[in-house]
């Protein structure tokens, strides 16, 4: 027991130092957590049981998705779906395809290729929203297009994750097909209920005491996640839909009381995921990861370029660069596949890929601001 406490203390101390470094340099802490995880792996890994790690990951992922769902209101989701249909389709085609194709080239199964496609498709809304805010770009004209794409990507995950979860669970074609049908219809029904009747849930959960809000929201979150797992679609998606369902002042409350818990569990989750990766296998995947990162950062650049079509050239470049970062969702998808016993190279490849894009993406976003066109000459001011 003392060993576990010691390990946990050491891990969280490392996370604290890294978070401090990240806050100081203005970088996303996610790549740092992953690096720390790799370091732990190199030092011999953690002494936690597989079940403990799995439990931590389950709760962390549910919380991550729940908080993501909280960020969006129902109207925003439907508005984004309407206005950025073209951009979203382009986004999916341009960014899912390279990962999927890379899986084939590496000789992986179709399912593993689909997982890799998901990893390259989904940008990190967490990293991107923070970078745009830090760079004072939230008011820029290209920003609504960028944010709308992030929304539709996150929403696409509500369909993608259950499909992949069902497929990873295996089984015959018919039972698999049935599971997929059940999963997708459950998600659509839940989404409809969330948008339509979310306010009732909100009313029941609202209370003056922070403690009551924390415990009741957390309880409902875990129950919904469990229900999601029971019905064979992913627990994470249940949490995401619950987040969307909540509205009004409760959103702010839930964010305040659950935010710190999410930060802690997510940080540990990223670290443990990377700690589960054999460091020796990294050199073997570094070339494919690098190539994939370069290709898919360029395709994201193209995506942003197309989505921000109404802006001038610099704005379109900024939008493209902003979308390059991958982060939490890519790790979540990879974790799902690794736990289900996928390809040994998938974990290392995902970690390396996220590391590259999560570092280069924010840097590219920053330097894209230097792209300028010659300003049109102002009308000559007549001197008085």
């Amino acid at each position: 027991m003392e060993v576990v406490l010691l390990e946990l203390g050491a891990i969280i101390l490392a996370l604290a130092l890294l978070a401090r470094l990240a806050a100081h340099t203005g970088f996303s802490p996610i790549p740092l957590y992953l690096l720390a995880g790799l370091a732990v792996s190199a030092l011999g890994g953690v002494d936690l049981s597989r079940e403990a790690i799995q439990l931590e990951a389950d709760i962390a992922v549910a919380l991550l998705l729940f908080m993501l769902g909280l960020e969006y209101t129902g109207e925003e989701l439907s508005a984004s779906l309407r206005t950025s249909r073209l951009g979203s389709a382009v986004d999916f085609l341009l960014n899912f395809t390279p990962g999927f194709a890379a899986g084939f080239i590496l000789g992986w199964s179709v399912l593993e290729s689909v997982v890799l496609g998901g990893i390259t498709y989904i940008s990190s809304s967490g990293i991107i929203a923070k970078v745009l805010d830090d760079l004072n770009r939230l008011g820029n004209r290209e920003t609504p297009a960028v944010l709308s794409l992030l929304v539709t990507e996150d929403l696409a995950m509500a369909i993608y994750l259950p499909l992949v979860t069902v497929a990873l669970a295996g089984g015959g074609f018919l039972s698999g097909f049935l599971s997929v049908v059940i999963a997708v219809s459950t998600v659509l029904l839940a989404l409809y209920m969330a948008l339509r009747h979310g306010r009732h849930v909100t009313r029941i959960l609202t209370h003056a005491s922070d403690e009551v809000v924390l415990l009741s929201v957390l309880a409902l979150l875990l129950l919904v996640a469990a229900l999601g797992e029971l019905l064979q679609f992913s627990a994470a998606v249940g949490a995401f839909l619950l987040g969307i369902a909540l509205s009004g002042s409760l959103v702010e409350r839930a964010r305040t009381v659950l935010g710190p818990l999410r930060d802690l569990l997510a940080a540990v989750f990223f670290l443990l995921f990377a700690a589960g990766v054999e460091v020796g296998s990294i050199p073997g995947v570094i070339v494919p990861a690098l190539v994939l990162a370069i290709v898919t950062m360029l395709t994201k650049l193209a995506t942003g370029w197309i989505a921000a079509g109404s802006c001038a050239l610099p704005g379109r470049v900024r939008a493209g660069a902003a979308l390059m970062s991958r982060g939490e969702f890519s790790v979540v998808i990879a974790d799902l596949a690794v736990v289900a016993g996928a390809q040994a190279r998938l974990g290392p490849l995902a970690v390396t890929y996220v590391l590259i894009t999560a570092v280069v993406g924010p840097l590219a976003t920053r330097y894209a601001g230097l792209v300028k066109v010659k300003p049109p000459a102002l009308p000559q001011q007549r001197s008085v």
């Binding site: 929203a129 805010d133 820029n140 609504p144 066109v373 102002l378």
Partner: protein, 161 residues
């Protein structure tokens, strides 16, 4: 008023902006958390924000108060215009003063004040330059013109202060 555009920023909040007469895009981002960002974009490149000011809820309210007229309306009622030694003010005739029932001439000559009642507003109607025999009533609004001291003295008389 200039037309204000409203743009949703999913996951962040709402952006309101308009194009100022100088050509620059000016706006406010209302964050879900209550934070407000005031943004100003250069006329050369309206896509990008040149100035961004982050305000928390309290600061935003202070800015609104400073820019709006709500704060000043209270002041206008008590406004004294000073035009080269000449003061103009208006005051309500109080019941508790000795003014109700007295004529304009009486009031102006109770003491030797350097001010005159140039108009009276009674129940929404304006009596411009009332005759010296015009009798004041409580709740009339008297418009006073004179020296600063004269207007103050007359105000004291009419309000009973």
């Amino acid at each position: 008023m200039l037309p204000i555009r409203e743009t949703r920023l999913p996951g962040v909040g709402v952006r309101f902006d308009f194009t100022a007469k100088g050509g620059e895009r000016v706006g406010v981002i209302v964050h879900r958390s209550g934070r407000r960002d005031v943004i100003v974009c250069s006329p050369q490149d309206p896509d990008v924000c040149q100035e961004v000011m982050h305000l928390d809820e309290e600061e935003a309210l202070a800015l609104v108060e400073a820019m709006g007229v709500s704060h000043s309306t209270g002041e206008i009622a008590k406004l004294q215009l000073a035009l080269g030694g000449l003061s103009i003010d208006w005051v309500e005739v109080a019941k508790r003063s000795h003014a109700p029932g007295k004529t304009v001439y009486d009031v102006e000559h109770v003491e030797d004040v350097d001010a005159s009642i140039v108009a009276v507003v009674r129940e929404g109607e304006t009596i411009a330059s009332p005759a010296s025999t015009f009798a004041l009533q409580a709740d009339d609004t008297a418009v006073l013109v004179g020296t600063r001291e004269g207007v103050d003295a007359l105000t004291a008389l009419l309000t009973g202060g």
